[in-house]
């Protein structure tokens, strides 16, 4: 725990330029949470796994080439809402490249900001906000992932859920198709496919 804290602080210091921005974010998060949680909590085992999973999604999902500005453009993993991974996600993706695209982590400030991501982890406790971001990203080449139990129903693409103490996946294929994202059959085999009430 201690070491993680130190490392996180070091990474913050490295980003000295954006210090103001970060402090503002922390204040915002603090205000939004209203729970008085520490700004940089050590991620639980569950979120460590989820961080790895987020990175692994990039290996099993094909984005349309148009979603990249150039061949060397980064593949951006965004986090909208509070960051539950601490620095763990950044550590996981550091130095990794997917099809020549370096993988980076971006902490999104707004829904508009999230549009530039390739993969967005939605961590918004407010269902309205979740609905809003999903609506905003509809048809955009952004793979949305969330813990929220209603995420698939809302039109999110991949939902983490826990069953038998294991993290499972639920995929909304209609949503991914609409966003022109191709999920590997291997990934789909592992996942539970969400069927919307409409199609039923």
């Amino acid at each position: 725990m201690q070491t993680i804290k130190v490392r996180v602080q070091a990474s913050i210091r490295y980003r000295g330029k954006n210090e103001w921005l970060f402090q503002a974010l922390f204040i915002l998060l603090f205000a939004l949470n209203g729970h008085g949680l520490p700004a940089q909590p050590a991620p639980s085992r569950e979120y460590q796994l989820k961080a790895v999973f987020l990175f692994n999604f990039t290996q099993f999902v094909d984005w349309p080439p148009t979603s990249f500005d150039a061949d060397e453009s980064p593949l951006v993993i965004g986090i909208l809402g509070a960051n539950p991974f601490g620095s763990f996600l950044e550590e996981t993706v550091s130095g990794e490249k997917i099809n020549g695209h370096p993988v980076t982590v971006h902490y999104c400030q707004s829904d508009e900001d999230a549009q530039n991501c390739h993969l967005l982890f939605v961590n918004l406790p407010d269902v309205k906000k979740r609905k809003a971001i999903i609506t905003t990203l509809k048809g955009k080449n952004v793979l949305t992932v969330s813990d929220a139990s209603d995420f698939s129903k809302l039109g999110g693409m991949i939902k983490f859920f826990t069953s038998n103490n294991k993290i499972k996946l639920q995929v909304n294929l209609e949503a991914t198709k609409e966003s022109e994202l191709v999920l590997s059959s291997k990934l789909l085999r592992l996942a539970e496919i969400f069927k919307s009430e409409k199609s039923n």
């Binding site: 692994n56 099993f60 294991k166 291997k186 592992l190």
Partner: protein, 479 residues
């Protein structure tokens, strides 16, 4: 086991073909067996490697999203390949993530993943395949295959080899039985011909030529040789006939010359007797009419002259008898030998003047022959016996006969002086004597005459004797 060089050529050919066939097939089969073994190992290795790659490719998501159920399901798909006995997946950290084993016995896995690649250990093929997604290693797959597949295949291969061997040996046997005839038949025919010739001495037989190969040449040469032998045989027979003809001619010449000689000696002996008679006559006249006028010495000389002249007369008589034999025709009659012998003994006994002889005369069979000549034989043999046993205190003469080899054998045995067996060959030759004239008078013609007569009658003469212990003379006549 029969020696190879002693077995028939047909079997030899069969064995040669079998041996070559066997060796060729064996070498071929062993080569293919080895080839197959290595190819199969390679194929098995490649196959396992391919399966490994497929399984690894399928397990990426399971490893990436820690889905043990999926991993298990993927590994369970290996059931389709029963020779893969064990498999396991290792995660990024080298910990076993999922396991698969056909039996509990096989459920032993390496603790941590090793270097990628497959190798044969004992009767297993096993190794590791990295599980990668986009060149990123997510874990490692371990696969273990038993070689049952290979042994099954090699067993099948072995069965095929045995079948091929059996079939090819059978075919070889049938073909050789059929084809070897082209070689063995001419040889056997040749051998058969040679055997007939050597067994039956028939040189007119010829071997049949069956082709223009070396055997054909051999047959030709063999037949040519027979031609030559036959030719030489003909020459030999012709030569023999010529020789016989020549011998006959010579014999005829000799016989006529011999006859001339006999005629000559007869006339000589006969002509010699006439002057001798005059000498005896006039000597007798001297003795009788001039006794008073001649002194004692003259009378003695006269008596010596007379004595020698008489002796010469005997000699001439004997010579005459001997030469007459050749001139006489052999008119044969049945002779009562007992009667003839009695006559001879009666005529001889008073002359010899020896009544002291004890006679033992057995009954004799009748015999065929010229009576005059046989009488002469008895006279000569009996008088000889009397002469040479006269000086004994108790002279004994035994006369008898027996049958032998389809001939009557007659014998005259005395207990006289006998003779040395060493000189037997001289016994029956003219003028050959074993005793001096002073000891026993005689001309040396008697036994020669006996021999000549008996051989003319178709019989044999021989004698047995021991010095000072008597002699026995035998003669045989055909029954």
């Amino acid at each position: 086991m029969m020696l190879y060089k002693n077995i028939p050529i047909r079997k030899k050919l069969l064995r040669i073909v079998f041996l070559i066939n066997g060796i060729v097939l064996f070498v071929t089969c062993v080569t293919f067996f080895i080839y197959e073994f290595y190819i199969f190992r390679k194929t098995t290795s490649e196959k396992l490697s391919t399966i490994g790659k497929i399984i690894a490719a399928n397990s990426t998501a399971a490893l990436a999203f820690q889905n043990a159920d999926d991993a298990k399901e993927i590994l369970a798909a290996l059931k389709a390949e029963p020779h893969i006995v064990a498999a396991s997946l290792y995660d990024k950290d080298g910990k076993i993530f999922s396991k698969y084993a056909t039996t509990a016995r096989e459920s032993v896995f390496p603790v941590s993943p090793g270097v990628a690649g497959f190798s044969f250990t004992n009767s297993y093929l096993d190794g590791f395949t990295p599980v990668t997604q986009d060149n990123r290693q997510l874990g490692t797959l371990y696969l273990k295959s038993d070689m049952g597949d290979m042994y099954e295949r090699l067993r099948l291969y072995g069965t095929i080899v045995v079948l091929v061997l059996v079939i090819s040996f059978f075919l070889a046997y049938v073909l050789v039985r059929f084809l070897q005839k082209s070689i063995s038949t001419p040889i056997l025919a040749l051998a058969q011909t040679a055997k007939v010739i050597s067994d039956q001495k028939v040189y007119s037989v010829r071997a049949v030529k069956m082709g223009n190969d070396e055997l054909g040449t051999l047959t030709e040469a063999f037949n040519h040789m027979l031609d030559q032998i036959e030719e030489q045989n003909r020459n030999l027979v012709e030569f023999n006939q010529n020789l016989e003809q020549k011998v006959m001619e010579r014999t005829e010449q000799l016989e006529s010359v011999n006859k001339e000689l006999e005629g000559f000696s007869y006339s000589v002996s006969h002509d010699l007797r006439a002057p001798l008679r005059a000498v005896i006559g006039f000597t007798s006249m001297l003795e009788e009419d001039y006794t008073s006028k001649l002194d004692d010495e003259a009378m003695r000389i006269t008596s010596v002259i007379k004595k020698n002249t008489i002796k010469m007369g005997h000699l001439i008589d004997d010579l005459l008898a001997f030469s007459r034999m050749g001139r006489q025709d052999g008119t044969k009659t049945a002779i009562d030998m007992t009667e003839m012998l009695n006559e001879v003994i009666t005529s001889l006994s008073p002359v010899e003047g020896n009544g002291a002889i004890s006679w033992d005369i057995q009954p004799l069979p009748r015999a065929n022959g010229n009576a005059n000549m046989i009488r002469q034989v008895w006279v000569n043999l009996v008088s000889n016996a009397i002469k040479y046993s006269r000086k004994r205190k108790a002279p004994h003469i035994e006369i008898g006969s027996f049958d032998k080899d389809n001939k009557h054998v007659f014998f005259v045995r005395d207990n006289g002086v006998g003779f040395d067996q060493l000189y037997q060959d001289k016994l029956f030759k003219v003028f050959q004597r074993l005793h001096s004239a002073e000891e026993f008078e005689g001309t040396g013609v008697g036994l020669a005459l006996v021999e000549k007569i008996i051989s003319k009658q178709g019989g044999d003469v021989w004698a047995e004797a021991e010095k000072d212990k008597g002699a026995c003379f035998y003669f045989s006549l055909p029954i």
